[in-house]
């Protein structure tokens, strides 16, 4: 966190607490039925090859009143599913996902941009093959709803990485360096134990 000039840490903390008063941060646990990442990459400049990771696991905390948020997601890289066992096996190799050595990828972010009460952009750090790089995810859609007595928030986010930044270099440049990530998430506010 960047410190405000001339403000002591205690004063800063108090200021933050005061700013957050009345706007409670709420945590949402990702719903495994509606939380996936699709990758899309251009093959020989001709058609898009795609595949799916997930369900992705994680927690999102939103303080929509204060315009703040935090997210931490885990992605099982060996679970990549293109619908083709041969393609899945190829993707898990050391020159692509390196799933044996790096079974998980991560996205951690604390920099949220809101438009009104909607999340518009989430900027954080993506870790793949043990390499961490900045990643910005733009919301193409975001909404919250009441669902079975609890609140569900979610949306569609899009980001782009250069796979070479992470050392995933197989078949460059015939299969493009630029990989599009389409992130579908729905987070469910845990219901209080009614027993």
């Amino acid at each position: 966190m960047r410190q405000h000039r001339g403000m002591k840490p205690t004063a800063l903390l108090l200021a933050l607490v005061a700013a957050g008063a009345g706007a409670q941060p709420t945590s949402y646990v990702l719903d495994p039925a509606h939380s996936f990442v699709h990758f899309e990459v251009l093959h020989f400049g001709t058609s898009t090859s795609s595949g799916r990771f997930g369900p992705i696991a994680g927690v999102v905390t939103l303080d929509r009143g204060a315009g703040r948020g935090e997210v931490s997601l885990r992605i099982d890289t060996a679970g990549v599913d293109t619908g083709l066992p041969v393609f899945n096996a190829r993707l898990r190799q050391p020159d692509l996902l390196a799933s044996t050595e790096y079974p998980e990828a991560y996205f951690v972010a604390r920099n949220f941009r809101f438009q009104g009460e909607r999340v518009a952009e989430v900027r954080g750090e993506f870790t793949l093959r043990g390499v961490s790089q900045p990643l910005s995810l733009h919301a193409r859609h975001f909404a919250c709803r009441e669902d079975e007595g609890t609140e569900v928030c979610g949306g569609d986010f899009m980001g782009e990485i250069l796979r070479s930044d992470f050392g995933a270099t197989y078949l460059l440049p015939f299969v493009a360096d630029r990989v599009r990530l389409l992130v579908q998430v729905e987070g469910r506010r845990p219901q209080p134990d009614r027993r």
């Binding site: 495994p32 039925a33 509606h34 996936f36 699709h38 093959h43 020989f44 400049g45 001709t46 058609s47 898009t48 090859s49 795609s50 799916r52 997930g54 369900p55 599913d81 293109t82 619908g83 083709l84 041969v86 393609f87 859609h141 909404a143 919250c144 709803r145 669902d147 569900v152 928030c153 979610g154 949306g155 569609d156 389409l182 579908q184 998430v185 729905e186």
Partner: protein, 189 residues
């Protein structure tokens, strides 16, 4: 008997000679057929059909073509096993009664050498309706592994699922309009 084989071989040669533009077989390892559906107005669920096959006849000179893709509806794959079972059930795709869906496209539009649209019909759940797949990209290249020409692209269409009797969860859970995505490559035979 030998004469019959010779005749068949002759006919096959003749047939391939007539299709000057060429016959292409869909490459299942670079073909992805998916449907995107908005879930409760919140997030987009992408559902893929993993088994498909098909053939394309395509002639850039005469600007004509024909494509036929058959999709094994039981191969539906959302990443959520209970949802896949629900999708296969009578309520939605009714896979037991209608195991395949077929797209037949016979009206190709071109700009220059590039296909921009393939219009035809989609048969699903025993019902046939027109569908026009628009190309968001199209290209042909010489594949260095097969040493053959490969043509392909990304196509999409918005279809109204209720036309095919797929009306479960309308309109709250999922809207009537769904996005059909066909990312396809076909190898010259």
């Amino acid at each position: 008997m030998n004469r019959l084989i010779a005749a068949a071989a002759c006919a096959a040669t003749l047939a391939s000679a007539q299709a000057e533009g060429g016959n292409y077989a869909i490459d299942p390892t670079h073909t992805f057929v998916s449907v995107e559906v908005m879930h409760f107005g919140t997030s987009t669920q992408r559902v893929r059909f993993d088994r498909k096959e098909g053939r394309v006849q395509f002639d850039r000179t005469s600007r004509s073509g024909r494509v036929e893709i058959t999709i094994d509806m039981a191969s539906v794959n959302s990443g959520v096993a209970p949802f896949d079972s629900h999708l296969r059930s009578k309520d939605i795709l009714d896979v037991a009664e209608h195991p395949t869906a077929t797209f037949v496209g016979s009206r190709f539009s071109f700009v220059g050498d590039r296909v921009t649209e393939v219009a035809g019909t989609l048969t699903m759940r025993g019902k046939t309706h027109p569908v026009a797949l628009k190309a968001t990209r199209f290209n042909c290249y010489l594949n260095p592994i097969f040493k053959r020409e490969v043509c392909g692209g990304d196509f999409e269409a918005v279809i109204q699922r209720s036309l095919w009797g797929v009306d479960d969860g309308l309109p709250a859970v999922a809207p009537d309009n769904v996005r059909l995505l066909v990312q396809v490559e076909a190898i010259k035979q």
